[in-house]
């Protein structure tokens, strides 16, 4: 018995077959040329604000950048939640005396750093978001954590509860709307007797 020959023969059989080689090559290529971006750091803050005669705003902050604001219109004045947005921003930045920018352009206008604003017209309460202000992320989700619960906020309005990073939450009430978060829904309720609510559905 010649060890060298036997060993060569046997270890040669251990060599990867064509299928394995192709799989390895494919995986290497996949890693080398992947265009998938890494998910942004998920340190976020969210502020829920409800202001004067307008309704409410939700601002999501990733790091130091506000990436999303959501405002709710006042029926009477057709403001788009900018006072509420301003109030919420005050809470986030501790800027006293800032009451938002009461312009009809919406929350995006009132928040200098707000790249995206989702506004809601309370006259059309079935739609949470105005379509042309859909948020775009590097990936299609951002993760929020409210009251210890984690939410994956998809741009389809779904909110899920998987793992996520910590988010500071501030809720500010007032005006003619209240914002509340319960186990199932994030809700913006006009402060009147009609049963109307805006919500982000939790799957």
């Amino acid at each position: 018995m010649k060890f060298r020959d036997e060993f060569k023969n046997e270890i040669d059989k251990i060599s990867p077959n064509e299928e394995q080689i192709s799989r390895i090559a494919e995986n290497v290529h996949g890693k080398l040329y992947s265009t998938k971006k890494k998910r942004k750091p998920l340190y976020m803050r969210i502020a829920l604000g409800a202001g004067g005669v307008c309704a409410a705003a939700i601002i999501v902050i990733v790091g130091s950048n506000i990436i999303k604001g959501r405002g709710v219109n006042s029926i009477e004045q057709n403001f788009t939640g900018n006072t509420a947005g301003g109030n919420a921003e005050n809470d986030l930045y501790n800027e006293e005396g800032y009451n938002g920018n009461d312009t009809p352009e919406g929350t995006a206008t009132s928040l200098n750093n707000c790249s995206y604003a989702l506004t809601m017209d309370s006259a059309d309460q079935k739609d949470i978001f105005i379509p042309d202000t859909v948020i775009e992320f590097d990936e299609d989700i951002c993760i929020l954590k409210l009251d210890g619960k984690e939410l994956v906020y998809r741009m389809t309005n779904e909110v899920l509860f998987p793992d996520g990073d910590e988010i500071n939450v501030k809720i500010e009430g007032g005006g003619d709307c209240v914002v509340q978060f319960d186990e199932k829904y994030l809700t913006v309720l006009p402060n009147d007797t009609k049963e109307r609510s805006y919500y982000i559905r939790v799957d």
Binding site: M1, K8, I11, I14, S15, I21, I24, K31, L32
Partner: protein, 180 residues
Amino acid sequence: MELSLKTAESFDEVMRFYTPMVYRIAFTRLGNPSDCEDVTQDVFLRYFKANITFESEEHRKAWLIRCAVNRANSYAASAWYRHKSSSEDWESLAENEILSDSRKSSVEENSERSERRFLVLQAVMKLPPKYRTAIYLFYFEDLPTAKIAEITKARESTVRSQLSRAREMLKKLLGEVDLQ
């Protein structure tokens, strides 16, 4: 098939040519097909990212061997590897190879040979990991001890003593065997 610097221009060519070698090095250390694939992928990722201009094909091969040995060692030292249990170990792989080989011709003709092969592989895989690498490079890649020492960054005397001890162990495990 010979690969020269001229013919090995593309990354794909290099990868396809050297994947079996890298995989076998990983196998002698880890003994598990899935782990071997992981290590092989990692080696070629590093190869690509390193973007080294090699002086010769031998230089490239030596770099890949060195990288494969290092990556396999790192993988074996990882907590994941140390704590996992796998059903895809080398013995089941070897047995499958032997079975498929046996099916190709008569059972009588091959059973003895297959069993002997299995014993050779089994014996090698029973050696301490550092001996296995030396055995592989010496007996399969036909590298001289000086070259193995250069690649593994060990002294030549260390490589020689590793081979010597490995041979002694193999003799005990395999009985009479020509280990030259």
